[in-house]
Structures are given as C-alpha cells and as structure tokens.
C-alpha cells in the first residue's frame, strides 16, 4: 500500500487534468487568502511601521550583508528547526507536523503532475514519502490536539472543545487521516469506501486551503518575517526597548520555569 501511488488508480475515474486544476486552485486559494488576510489585518502596514520605529531606536546600524546573514540564520534556526519554541514537546510536535505537511504536499503535487495516469510508473520513493508525510502529520497533529494545545494543557479545557482557532489543525488532521484511509481502501479494493474517503479527503483539503482567511494557516508566512524582524532588533541594539541581557553567569538553575504551567 505505501509504495502504490493512489492518484494513478484514481486517474481511471478522474482525469489527471482535473486533479492538476484542483491543485492549482488550492495554490491560488492559499495565496489569495493570505493576501486578503494581510489586507484585512493591515499586517504589512504595522510590520513596516514597527521596523521604522525600531530603526529610530537603533544604536548599531545593520549593513545589508549582516541582514543577509541574519536572514539565513532565521531560516536555519527559526524556520527549519522551529527554534523559537521554548518547550521541547511543542517544538518536536511542530517539527513533525511542519515537515510532514511539506513532504505530503510536495509529493502530492509531484504525483499529480507527473505520475497521475494508470500507465505511469511511479518511483516507489514518492508514494512512500507521501504516506510517511501523512503519518508524521497525524503523529504530530494528534499529539498536539490531545495534549499540547495551550487551551487544553494550561487552561484545563477538555480536548473535545472546538473553537475557531482549531480550524487549521482540525482540517489538517482530517486531510492527513482521510488520505491514509483512502489509500488503504484503494489498495484493498474496498469499493464504495474508497470513494467516500476520497470525497472526505478532498473536502477536508478544500477547507484547509480555502479557510486561510479564517484560520491560522498563514502563520507559516508571517512567523518567519516576525522572527527575522526580532533578530534585527537584537542586532541593531533597539531590542524593542528591552534591557540588554545581564552580564552575569547562569548559576542558579530554573525557577518558575522548572514546573510546567499546569496549575489549574
């Protein structure tokens, strides 16, 4: 099952051009949703206004070369290793979900654009990575959903409490889960069920990519920009008016941070 391309069998019923148009439509929805989100919240305006404020407070001007090096560091530490998370469990769950999502979406696009016909011979690495990506999404995502979500872990809300902030993670989990079940039903030739789960897979992925304006999806574009700007404020000395770190040794161990914030 995990080395079979489910889209090649699907091409018997749905032409590959339709699948490709759907993928392009999802890309347009994401781009459009992000731009509408930015326009609605005026995020770009506030982002650049904050940068201007920080520049006025700067004590060491940052050259273009230094900015480029800071950008690379941001990508390497904050983006690729989710370095901003202080909590290890949150960081690991985010890495699993992030890389699972990237692998899943990339392999889906490759299989649909290059190998979505019944005669195509898909290299087995692609469906293998597709399944691994979906599994990583499920592991990281369900772990986050049941245990790590801050409104559950810190405020004591039950795991089944659903709010608007859950739109992104729920549609992501639904997409990954239904894709795996669909792949299984397809490979086992369970007719009827494979159609049902394929339909649910398409529905959940449409909600995921179409709901960008209402969900947290766009954070994957905003957070790297915010992380870059934060590093610039540290480099130019403005530090958002925060005091400089004290020049003292770290010798006393953790205080309030040695306990998880679960005193509810």
């Amino acid at each position: 099952m995990i080395t079979i391309n489910p889209f090649s069998e699907l091409s018997e019923f749905i032409p590959s051009i339709a699948m490709q148009v759907y993928v392009i439509a999802m890309v347009i929805l994401v781009a459009g949703g992000t731009m509408l989100d930015m326009a609605h919240k005026q995020s770009a305006k506030f982002f650049f206004r904050n940068s201007e404020k920080a520049k006025k407070l700067a004590t060491n001007p940052v050259s273009a070369g230094e900015k480029a090096s800071i950008a690379l560091k941001t990508v390497a530490e904050d983006v690729l290793t989710s370095g901003e998370f202080c909590n290890t469990k949150r960081r690991i769950a985010h890495l699993l979900t992030m890389y699972g999502f990237v692998i899943f979406v990339t392999t889906t696009a490759i299989m649909i654009f290059c190998y979505a016909s019944i005669t195509a011979i898909t290299p087995s690495i692609l469906p293998l990575l597709w399944h691994i990506g979906a599994l990583m999404l499920c592991v990281g995502g369900y772990w986050f959903w049941f245990f790590i979500r801050v409104d559950v872990a810190v405020e004591g809300n039950p795991w089944y409490r659903v709010v608007r902030a859950d739109l992104f993670i729920l549609s992501l989990l639904a997409t990954a889960t239904f894709s795996l079940i669909w792949s299984y039903c397809q490979a086992s030739n369970v007719s009827g069920w494979n159609t049902l789960f394929f339909g649910l897979f398409v529905l959940s992925s449409t909600v995921l990519f179409g709901g960008v304006l209402w969900s947290k999806f766009a954070h994957m574009f905003f957070k790297p920009a915010a992380a870059f700007q934060k590093r610039i404020t540290k480099a130019d000395g403005s530090r958002e008016n925060l005091p400089a770190p004290a020049d003292r040794p770290e010798q006393f161990g953790l205080g309030i941070k040695r306990e998880a914030p679960k005193h509810y």
Partner: protein, 156 residues
C-alpha cells in the same frame, strides 16, 4: 490600560495564563495566543510580563501615572538570578536598573512555614504579634475559595 500582548512575539505557551494572580490572562479563541480579557482588573503586577519567555507582553501604564510616550520594559533572567528594567521617560531620559532576585539556587533552602508551630494565645498577645490582623484566622482556619467564583474554568 494595562498589559497587552504582542501577537507577533507570543507563541502561546501559557506561562502568563498560569501566573496571573487575577486570572485575567487567557488564550484567545480565534488565534490561540495570550490576551488580557479584563484590562480594567489588571493591577500591573508585571507577573505575566516577567514570566513570558518571549518578552511578548508589555504594559501601557494608566495615564494619570504614566503619560503617553514612556516605555517600561523588564527582563527577568532566573538562571542568572537577575531582573533588569529599562525605563524611558517621555522627555528622552533613560534609566536602567539591574537587581538580584535570588542569592542561592532556586528550589533549595525554602523555609517550610507550614511545619512551624501555630502561635498560641500567649504568643498572639505578645508585643511581637499583638497587632497581627484577625484575618490570620488562627482560630477559625484559612478562608476557602469557591470554584464557582472563578472565571473561564480555572480550577484550583
């Protein structure tokens, strides 16, 4: 108006929710980030500001005390045992403070006050304790907090 959260810096860890003594720092239902749900009840104790690992919380002081144009920011570094304040006045003056918050490792040598003896009647009437308020409730026991009085499902 008191504490507010910089959404671009908050990562939703919940330390401020845990530490707020007034139970007014909570998690926003739309973006899952911290938010002060009742600024009117904030007494600017700075607990959340100090506890935030991302320094994402700031305070707008009440206008009669801290007019617009000022900035008060704090950095608590518990591993170094220090707290640093940077205060910018609106006329451009800046003051920086660095103070210790502990002189020995956290969690060690904490006095076990609960194991000390409750003062007897003679001790309560002594010169040292005679002005202690009746709210010590040595005779009647400590007051109990009713869970129903608390907002947002916080349970103690």
């Amino acid at each position: 108006m008191p504490t507010f959260v910089y959404m671009t810096r908050c990562d939703g860890c919940g330390h401020c929710v845990d530490i707020c003594p007034s139970d007014i720092m909570h998690i926003d239902k739309t973006i899952r980030r911290a938010v002060n749900i009742e600024p009117n009840m904030c007494w600017e104790c700075y607990s959340c500001v100090k506890a935030c690992p991302q320094n994402a919380i700031d305070v707008r002081g009440y206008a009669d005390f801290a007019p617009l144009g000022h900035s008060v920011r704090v950095l608590r570094e518990e591993e170094k045992g220090t707290i640093s304040w940077k205060i910018k006045f609106r006329d451009g003056r800046e003051k920086n403070f660095l103070s210790p918050i502990t002189t020995q490792p956290w969690g060690k040598n904490i006095p076990k006050l609960g194991e000390l003896e409750i003062p007897d009647k003679e001790a309560l009437n002594s010169q040292l304790l005679c002005f202690e308020p009746d709210a010590l409730n040595v005779d009647t026991g400590l007051p109990v907090l009713d869970k129903a009085q608390l907002k947002e499902g916080v349970y103690y």
